[in-house]
Structure formats: C-alpha cells, structure tokens
Symmetry: C2
Subunit: 454 residues, 2 copies
C-alpha cells in the first residue's frame, strides 16, 4: 500500500461542492437552451491542439497569455486558451462541408496560467456564440447576437443589465475626421478608460499625445455620449464629422439598433456608448460589452463584436463574423459569492423514499421507478439506519418531499408524503403524490435562478 497523499486541487481550478455544481449547471443549461432555440450548432473541439495551430496568428510565438504548453514525444502541444482560435481552425478546416452563415456555440473549459488570486481562474468556462459568413455577412447578424444574450440574461433572472454597443468605425472615423494625427491604438487605449478615471486624466493623457486642446475636448465630449438610438445619432451628427468610416459606422449602428428593437429587446437593456473600444486589433465594426447596473465594479460580463476575417492565418477565404462570449466561471463565482443564486435548485432529487425496513426495499424501488417514469427526480435511501439518520439524509440534501414507506402504507397501497418545508404530512396514492410534487415543481420553475434585487 502506497503512503497517503493529501488530496488537493490545483489553485485557480474551480471545483464546486455538489450543491454549487447544481447551481452552476442550471445557469449553463439556460445559456445552452437559448443558444439552441436560436438554431446555433453546438461544437466541442479538443482541449489539446498542436501549438503551431493554436499560435498560428503569431507564427508560433506565445501571445502574452500564460499558456499550458508542453511536448509529448516530439509533438508540441498546447491546451486551448480560448474558444475563438479553435473555431477559426474548425471553420477553415471544414470550410467545404459547412453551410454559411455558420452559427455555432461552444461552452467549454479554457486554460491560462495567470497568477492565481481570488476570483481569478486558470481553468475556466467560456460560453461563446458566433455567426460566421462566407465572404460577407449581413449587418443584421450584429443585432441577433446581443438579442440572444438579452434572452439568456433575462431567462436567468438577471434583469439588471445593459448591453452597450459601439462601432469601431465610428471612433476611427471620428478621430480621422478631426484630423487627429496621433497613434490610433494609443488614442483608443486612453478612450477605453473613460469610465474608470476622471475626465481630466483622459484630457491630460490625450494632450500628451500632441492633440490640440480643442480636439481633445471634442473627442472626450463625443465618447461621453450614450443612450438610446435617435438622441445619440442626433448628438453625433452635431459634431459635423463626414468621413466614410464615420458614416459607415453610424449607419451600421442604426441598422443594429433597428434590428435589436425588432427582436423585442426593451430599450433599457441596451444603449449606444461611443466610448466602448474593446480588443484593439481584433474587432473591426460593432463592439459590445454587458454591465450589471448594480455592479459596475464587476466590469463586462459578456463582450464581443464583429470581425472582418476570422481565420486569415488558416485560409485565404475571407470569413467575417460576429460573436459574444460570457465568462461563465467568473460570472458564477461572483454571483455565488454574493448569494444571488437561488438555493431552490440545489437539491439533487424532488422526492426521497424512506423504507422503514429492509424488506420494503423492493416496494420502495417499484414506487421510485413509477415516480421516475413520470419525470420526477426520485431516489430511495437503502441504508439500514435509524429513522433519524434517514431524515438527516433528506435534510442535508435539501430534498423537499420525503415519502415514508412502511407496512401500513404498503398494505393500504398509499404513501405517506411529507413536505419538509411545511412539515405537512399526508397519506395519499402515489398518483396523487406525483400531482402534488409536479405542482411544487411548476411553482419552483417560475422562480428566478438569479436574483440580484434581494
């Protein structure tokens, strides 16, 4: 016998308690269901890929991210660090067999060896949704993606969010139109901080780039515009910018807003915000980020945008796309820490059957099989313990209904069912017990999974 090794889990690797895992899975399930309702294919690419393939963009160089890379035999391998590069590989590789626009979602674990700290993870779920076109992709798709995210969050009960939308062409065109001659990347990097630092800091930093004070003031004024469609477009027009890029960006934004409205997304769940820049070299048009109104400190919980070309480093085909990604592990961690997730969804069964005696195990199994055939999650406690130990099992697991089964019940062909929340107990037929539990389940399903307002 080997020596005892202390069982432990790597730091930065989320490993949930059984109850928390049920909560996590409930959230994941809602996300998946919404993606599926909208006709998105599920993909499931490998966790391991050739390093050369995953780092094609940089010619095999690691891309700033701390990654898990190693060799096995003479193969240079990397654990995926996002779901976008595997998507690009997949679409380029299977181009001939795919139908475009290709709509896919993927919810999977990715790996980054970042410094471990509270709320930061090295293994975490991303939940991505993208639409890829072949050569072209209608701007209307830029409205579908946030509308789906709206449905995900609403169904989760997260009604306290706003999807902020901008278009990179608007910012680029504005800067161009103002005749600002500074490094665009540098300007956008500063602009992107508008929510985090005082206006004066922005003005000062932009001034340091050599921009004239008037230009700086106009730019800062511009990026502070936010709100619903019409008013924002009027304000933007007031700046008198008339570059091709600016006009194209504004017209795309108008199409996106119109599209989002046609998906019945309420006006308070999205807005235009000219300060959003996001990922400076990746996105080329529409950009999104999603904030929780009561928790701006969390930052964006779902971001994305439009890119001109998904897979330039794998194929000569032009594959434009638009997508968003939910950082599921981090979002769950925060919501769970703040106790915003319903505990009603953390019981593994709806019914627990407690046979009084070993000789009643067979009858208990039969009744259990009946409940399960009716779609009710049910289990039997088969250990030969005292009644107190049996009840403790139900309590610990939070199972709402307990069925006590003894000679009396078996003889009368009934069950004694006890509602552990109310303490109410009654002898009814197993068919009546199904109706009772189904009613409770219907009530439970109408409850929100996430409740920030409480």
């Amino acid at each position: 016998m080997a020596e005892i090794v202390t069982p432990r889990t790597l730091s930065g690797f989320m490993e949930l308690s059984p109850k928390d895992q049920l909560k996590f899975n409930s959230i994941k399930k809602v996300i998946e269901e919404v993606y599926q309702l909208h006709g998105f294919y599920a993909l499931d690419t490998p966790v391991l890929e050739l390093s050369e393939v995953l780092m094609a963009k940089t010619g095999g160089e690691e891309i700033g991210k701390q990654i898990y890379r190693f060799t096995k035999g003479d193969t240079d391998l990397t654990m995926r660090f996002d779901l976008t590069v595997p998507l690009a590989k997949y679409v380029a590789k299977n181009y001939g067999e795919l139908t475009f626009p290709f709509k896919r979602y993927q919810i999977g674990k990715v790996y980054r060896g970042e410094r471990a700290q509270r709320g930061r993870f090295r293994e975490f779920y991303q939940s991505d949704i993208d639409i890829i076109g072949d050569g072209e992709l209608d701007i209307y798709n830029d409205a579908i993606i946030p509308s789906i995210i709206y449905q995900v969050f609403t169904r989760l009960g997260l009604d306290d969010f706003v999807i902020r939308i901008n278009n990179r062409k608007v910012l680029n065109g504005f800067i161009e139109g103002m005749g600002i001659n500074a490094d665009l990347t540098e300007v956008l990097r500063i602009v992107d901080k508008i929510e985090k630092v005082p206006r004066e800091v922005i003005v000062e930093e932009l001034g340091e780039l050599g921009l004239d004070p008037e230009g700086v003031n106009k730019l800062v004024e511009f990026i502070q515009i936010k709100g619903a469609g019409e008013e924002v477009f009027e304000k933007a027009a007031g700046f008198g910018i008339n570059t091709e890029s600016f006009n194209e960006g504004i017209s795309e934004l108008k199409a996106v807003v119109e599209g989002i409205e046609s998906f019945n997304v309420p006006a308070d769940c999205f807005c235009i915000d000219f300060s959003i820049a996001r990922g400076l070299d990746y996105y080329t048009g529409t950009v999104y980020e999603t904030m929780l109104k009561k928790h701006p400190e969390i930052g964006s919980v779902c971001s994305g945008g439009r890119y001109d070309n998904l897979a330039a480093y794998y194929t000569k085909k032009t594959l434009p796309g638009v997508g968003m990604s939910i950082g599921l592990t981090r979002l769950f961690y925060i919501l769970n820490e703040k106790k915003y997730i319903s505990t009603n969804i953390s019981a593994p069964s709806d019914i627990l059957i407690l046979p009084f005696d070993r000789k009643d195990y067979g009858k208990a199994s039969e009744i259990n099989a009946y409940f399960i055939s009716q779609g009710i999650r049910s289990q039997v406690y088969f250990e030969n313990k005292k009644v107190k130990a049996k009840m403790k099992y139900a309590d610990s697991l939070g199972i709402p209904f307990v069925i006590l089964l003894g000679e009396d019940e078996i003889e009368k062909n009934v069950v004694s069912i006890k509602n552990l929340a109310t303490g109410e107990q009654q002898q009814i037929s197993k068919e009546e017990a199904v109706l009772l539990v189904q009613d409770a389940l219907i009530a439970q399903r109408s409850e929100k999974i996430i409740n920030i307002s409480e």
Copy 2:
C-alpha cells in the same frame, strides 16, 4: 501577417461535424437526464491535477497508461486519465461536507496517449456513475447501478443489450474451494478469455498452471454457467463448493438479482455470467459488463463493479462504492459508423424563416421571437441572396419547416409554411404554425435515437 498554417486536429482527438455533434449531444443528454432523475449529483472536476495526486496509488509512478504529464514552472501536472481517481480525491478531500451515500455522476473528457488507430481515442468522454458509502454500503446499491444503465440504454433505443453480472467472491471462493493452488490473478486472466478463445485453449492454459485436469474441467464448466437467477444458483449449488467467500458471493448475487427485478428491469436485459472477472485488482464484489447482443465483437460498452475502498491512498476512512462507466466516445463512434443513429435529430432548428426582402427582416425577427417564446427552435436567414440560395440553406441544414415571408403574408398577417419532407405548403396564422410544428416534434420525440434493428 503571419504565414498560413494548415488547420488540423490532433489524431485520436474526436472533432465532429455539426450534425454528428448534435447526435452525440442527444445521446449525452439522455444519459445525463437518467442520472439526474435518479438523484445523482453532477460533478465537474478539473482536467488538470497534480501528478502526485493523480498517481497517489502508485506513489507517483505512471500506471501503465500512457498519460499526458508535464511541468509548468515547478509544478508536475497530469491531465486526468479517468474519472475514478478524481472522484476518490474529491470524496477524500471533501469528506466532512458530503452526505453519504454520496451519489455522483460525471461525464467528461479524459486523456490517454495510446497509439492512435481507427476507433481508438486519446481524448475521449467517460460517463461515470457511482455511489460511495461511508464505512458501509448496502448491497442493494449494486442493483441500482445496472438498473439505471438499463434505463439509459432503453431510452436511447438500444434495446439489444444484456448486462452480465458476476461477483468476484464467487470466483475466488470457487477456486479456493477446489483447492486450486495456482496464482489467482493468473487463473482469472485466463478465465476472462472464455468468450474469445475456444474452450480447449482455456483448458490447456489452466493445465499449464499446474491445475489437475479434473479441477480445470470443473472450473471451465462453472464459468460457462450463465442465465437468469434461479437456474444459475441451482447449477452453482451443484458444484458442492462451501467456502465463506463463495457463499457470500452467491448471497450477494441473489440480493442483486432480486433488487434488479424490483426495479422492473426485464429478465432478458440482464443475466448472471460466472466468467466475468473485470479489472483484476480493483473490484472486490459485484462486477458488470454490458454487451450488445447483435454486436458482441464491440466488447463491453458499459462496465463496472463494487470496490471495498475507493480512496485508500488519500484517506484512512473506508469508502466502499459501486459504479459503472460508459465509454461514450467509443460507443458513439461505433454506432455512428454503423449508421445506427437517427438523422432526424441532426437539424439545428425546427423552423427556418425566409424573408423575401431586406425590408421584411424586422417582421421576420418578430415572428422568430414568437416561435422561440413557444419553445420552438427557430432562426431567420438574413443574407440578401436569391431564393434558391435561401432554400439551399434550409436543405443543407435539414430544417424540416420553412416559412416564406413576403409582402402578401405580412399584409394578411399569416405565414406560408412549407414541410420540406412532403413538399406541402399552406398559408396559416403563426399560432397555427406553432401547433403544426409541435405535432411534428411530438412524433419525432417518440422515435428512437438509436436503432440497431434497421
């Protein structure tokens, strides 16, 4: 711009087409639903663990399996090669917070660097279900596990299977009772081959171990016994063995058979088979394997058994358990190769809406949102292409219903819905369209996912 890298996937890493992925996910979903109906918690342990932890059993030595092991910084890491060791770690680590019997399932990818060949995978899903006791675990649990597997396979449409059951104590006790003085492991290794080689080979190999011919003949006769409970137990009794181990094994087998019957598992879906030995040093009592009757060449598609102590290398607590595992990736690969999986489940949507003109996109979105609110998977084709290209999209994706939406329909507040299988087209209200599609979905849901008999 970096050079173009050929997009490719590692050999032995399954990466499915969008349609095959939908089939795979349908199977996975049924397995999960059945596990959940029976009150099993879902676990989701990390893919990466400390090598010291994963290889605790052997004191850090690799265990014959080709594994993915590497160092990052000064941490020695291993990608999990099964789901049992992580379960042992989890239960030992969280012992104080868990309620026993602890019932969990885990469906996840595991990694083994075996030689890549057709149908052999290096990254593959295992689908495990286990019940862990604290100090003791009633034998009735050994009946629950195969009963759940029976429900999984039946719901999948795989009616052509038999779960074979044995008990290691029976074999051990038989050999002991016969006074056979050979290496038990060696005897069992030979016994385990009874289905694959002729009886004479078994007799010869056992003879070579120094067993007397009479003993060999009795043993070979014994391990060929298989069938339903009563007859098997009578035959076994006829051998006049009376060791403690043998009697205990037989009495446990009797309890398991009785238990399985009380779960309403039909008699032709399970049998006792005294030749089943499985994993020579791990299981200590009941053992199972599951064969497809028409495809014995596939071998066991779901195996498992009872073990005395799950986590001896992590804790001094005695944690007996019982479980089974489905090799999901391999099973899927075989069923899909043989075209046994329904193609009706490979469409990503139930309805595709085709607006005639760009100006109808808004109306199309509204109708789409309505269908989705009714739980119907629906999408709109938003590309500005010719009708032929639009219809080709529906065809390629295999979407059963197409809605043609133009000025005429919008004015009359109806939709033109076409059943692509029958070619039938009608103008009805969107509410009627929902009913039409729901009927088709109900019919589809009653179809089997897997159909071997065809």
